[in-house]
């Protein structure tokens, strides 16, 4: 199997997570397409040099979250890289439109969180244990616990958004 096939197989396993991470960090659907492309491009660029000493999931989470967080700092512009691709639809998409609607509700709740808190919550929702979250994000385990506690409090205190 060549690198391209191996990467496609890898993407097949993690496609849903990439879409959800991009959705968490990007409210605008056009910018979300860009972010999905950026994450995939970065994963692809780094894929051949992936260090097998680290867990594949750790590597993947780090890249996806780093790209998402850094895309918030720089205003996403219509780069030439994306111009042509935009016209051809999305790299990843939900086959069931209702799924996207349900996730929008989730994204609305996560909107109030800071970028790093979003990353903590994503990893927590993915079922990652505190030591792993700490390793991926480069923070201490106690910091992870503190942030999760704060996130729970924040989510409880917010009034449920109106949905029609």
């Amino acid at each position: 199997m060549d690198q391209q096939q191996a990467f496609e197989q890898f993407l097949e396993t993690h496609k849903q997570l990439i879409l959800k991470v991009a959705g968490t960090y990007c409210g605008d659907s056009e910018q979300r397409k860009d972010l999905v492309q950026d994450i995939i491009l970065q994963l692809w660029k780094s894929f051949p040099s992936y260090n097998k000493d680290f867990a594949l999931s750790t590597w993947m989470y780090r890249i996806a979250l780093n790209v998402s967080i850094s895309s918030l700092r720089k205003e996403i512009t219509r780069k030439k890289t994306h111009e042509g691709l935009q016209e051809q639809g999305e790299l990843l998409y939900y086959q069931d439109p209702q799924m996207e609607e349900r996730l929008q509700l989730l994204y609305q709740h996560m909107e109030q969180l800071k970028p790093l808190e979003k990353a903590v919550l994503i990893l927590h929702l993915e079922g990652r244990k505190h030591p792993e979250i700490a390793e991926i994000l480069g923070i201490t385990e106690s910091n992870v616990s503190t942030k999760i506690h704060r996130i729970k409090t924040l989510l409880k205190s917010k009034v449920k958004p109106q949905t029609h």
Partner: protein, 194 residues
Amino acid sequence: MELPELTNLWNAPGSVAINRQLLKEVTLYKVKALLYSLKWSTYFELGLNIIFLFFLQGFISGHLNEMRFLIPALILIVVTIASTVLECYKLYLFYSLRAESPVVDTQQKVAQLQYLEALEANSMAVIIPLLSAPILIVPAKAFFDFDLYQLGNWIPHYIIGSVVVGLVIAFLLRKFPNEKLKKAVAFLKEIKVD
């Protein structure tokens, strides 16, 4: 909303599709975007070459019996034709980058573009001295009907001076190559298929 509710929403089963054609094209678009400026500079050079070829063809047909003007014009036309062929080949390489091709093919084509850029840079050391005198003699005659040979024995000194200029320009072009092209090659190396 409580965390367990969020967890349920997050983990709700949903089917995600991959646009495989677009996935293949992501790499290519990245490379093509980097080569964008190279493409337009090649078109510009090609346009200038074509205009110059028309001018030279007219000049040659009017000076067939004057060897002192015919030879410089022939030198110019040969170099311009060679340059035109090179520009066309560069455009061919650019347009033959295809999403459905294996990454190795793209790598080879971009490497060829980089080689041609280096070749052009190196050739400046020869082309500048070679064209230095003809590029003055021919237009002076064509536009001002002035014979530069009348000015005495300036040509050998002028050519020797242009050798130095040619070497300096070739050195600078090699020292500061096209950054975008370098990035495209580096990018393709990163995603190299073993």
